[in-house]
């Protein structure tokens, strides 16, 4: 394992109620870079990213085996509290989901839960600045977060996630519910954020993965002919420039060229 890696995944297997969803995934996530996970729908991208912060635990019948090392510590070891794990890892979801509270209270939620003792005002401002939202909301921090536009709400969710100072941000299709301009702003924000955070992004938009990421992982489905069971496997994981100019696996080549979806 690379000492620098933020995450080190070995032999990850996920099952939902006994049916396999993901098999034998090995990968390393490096610090201060953007890693994209691409693949056709149903290949397990969301399942994979949710393994990084044990969000799969919330799904009844989910079983995860294998190792997921976060800075060398297996987050799936016996006795590890998933709540503690999630405090170190931020997550942003596909549809912006701010709480029906004020903008300030949204950003302050995480720190308050974690019994933050310092200057909350300063932390909220810093988080909103890093999420490129401060200038737009500094005069209406007490207003409801639901009054913001979709793109602003998503940046608020990013500010909320980074307020607890994680070193990784997981993003599950963060821009797919946004219009093109808002999408570009999120992508620009990601380039800024990667100076401080490792970012893992799931996207079904290949051009976005090509534009934004440093490394790309391609997941694809395998099918058991007899039982018609389907599960995801990691086909190729490499520098983004390689994946999009000369991938090693034909399946990767066909997928990125759009020969199948």
């Amino acid at each position: 394992m690379n000492e620098e890696s933020v995450f080190s995944v070995k032999g990850l297997d996920v099952r939902y109620g006994g049916a396999p969803a993901l098999k034998a995934v090995d990968m390393e996530i490096g610090p201060r870079q953007i890693t994209a996970i691409i693949g056709p729908s149903g290949c397990g991208k969301s399942t994979l990213i949710r393994c990084f912060n044990r969000m799969n635990d919330l799904i009844p019948g989910a079983a995860v085996s294998g190792e997921v090392l976060y800075h060398g510590n297996d987050i799936y070891a016996a006795g590890v509290d998933p709540v503690v794990v999630r405090r170190h890892i931020g997550m942003v979801f596909q549809r912006p989901n701010p709480f029906p509270k004020s903008i300030y209270d949204n950003v302050a939620f995480g720190p308050r839960i974690n019994r933050f003792k310092g200057d909350l005002d300063e932390l909220v401002e810093r988080s909103l600045r890093r999420a490129a939202l401060w200038d737009e909301v500094k005069n209406k921090l007490k207003k409801s977060a639901l009054a913001l536009s979709g793109g602003q709400q998503q940046r608020l969710c990013i500010a909320r996630a980074i307020a607890v100072e994680p070193d990784v941000i997981l993003m599950d299709e963060p821009a797919s519910a946004l219009d093109p301009i808002a999408t570009v702003r999120i992508e620009d924000l990601m380039q800024e954020l990667k100076k401080e955070f490792a970012i893992v992004i799931v996207t079904h938009n290949m051009q976005q993965a090509a534009r934004v990421s440093d490394k790309t992982a391609f997941l694809y489905t395998e099918v058991d002919e007899e039982t018609s069971a389907r599960w995801g496997i990691l086909v190729e994981y490499d520098d983004t420039s390689r994946i999009f100019t000369k991938p090693n696996d034909k399946r990767t080549e066909d997928y990125v060229s759009g020969r199948f979806g």
Binding site: M206, Q207, A210, I243, F244, T245, K246, P247, T252, E253, V256, S257, G258, R259, F260, G261
Partner: protein
């Protein structure tokens, strides 16, 4: 999926061969018209260059449109980039054949200089053969054939050097103008061969994606 795009890409690929065939005919015609002193044929070749240029412009436009609108990646991207570079090589080769035909129109009576004319025709034919081979390499997308081209190009370089030596030896028997024009013709054939080698190199990069095969 993306059938329209991939069909369009394949048509562009085939059109490279079509343009190649036109240039090949121009080269062959240039050699023949030089050999027989056939000024009419030479003029026909010069006019035909317009068609080659028109096809070049059309194909460039199509390639650019595909880049902008289809965002090709991986193999598709390497193919379009290869096609764009190969187009310039073909167009230049066409221009060189045009230049040879133009010199023929000056009615040089090189037939009288036996040694020289043999060398020139050998040079021309070798160059044309190399060019044809390059087109075969493109048609079959066979990178191994491309590796053989260097050797043939060396032979052409030798022939060119022999030509220059021969012209120098005969400097008292011919006029300066004739000698200069013959050197130019030799140069043009030699450069056609270089473009053919470039074409093959481009093909190798497309198939292997290995930067070592560039340039």
């Amino acid at each position: 999926m993306r059938d329209t795009f991939h069909n369009e890409l394949e048509r562009l690929d085939q059109d490279v061969l079509r343009m190649g065939a036109m240039v090949e005919a121009a080269i062959e015609g240039a050699i023949l018209s030089l050999a027989e002193g056939d000024i009419e044929r030479a003029c026909a070749i010069m006019e035909a260059d317009d068609a080659i240029d028109a096809l070049f412009i059309d194909m460039e436009k199509r390639a650019l449109a595909m880049l902008a609108q289809q965002q090709p990646v991986a193999g598709d991207l390497r193919l379009i980039v290869a096609i764009l570079r190969v187009l310039t090589d073909l167009e230049r080769a066409g221009d060189l054949a045009y230049n040879v035909a133009k010199i023929t129109c000056k009615d040089l009576e090189i037939v009288k200089l036996k040694r020289v004319s043999i060398l020139i025709y050998e040079l021309g034919h070798a160059s044309r053969r190399l060019f044809t081979k390059a087109l075969d390499v493109w048609a079959t997308k066979d990178a191994t054939m491309a590796a053989e081209m260097d050797q043939l190009d060396d032979e052409i370089d030798h022939l060119y050097q022999d030509l220059v030596k021969e012209l120098f030896l005969l400097r008292d028997e011919t006029s300066f103008e004739v000698a200069m024009n013959l050197v130019l013709v030799g140069r043009y054939f030699e450069r056609i061969a270089d473009h053919a080698v470039n074409l093959a190199e481009r093909l190798r990069y497309f198939t292997t994606g290995d930067e070592a095969h560039l340039g």
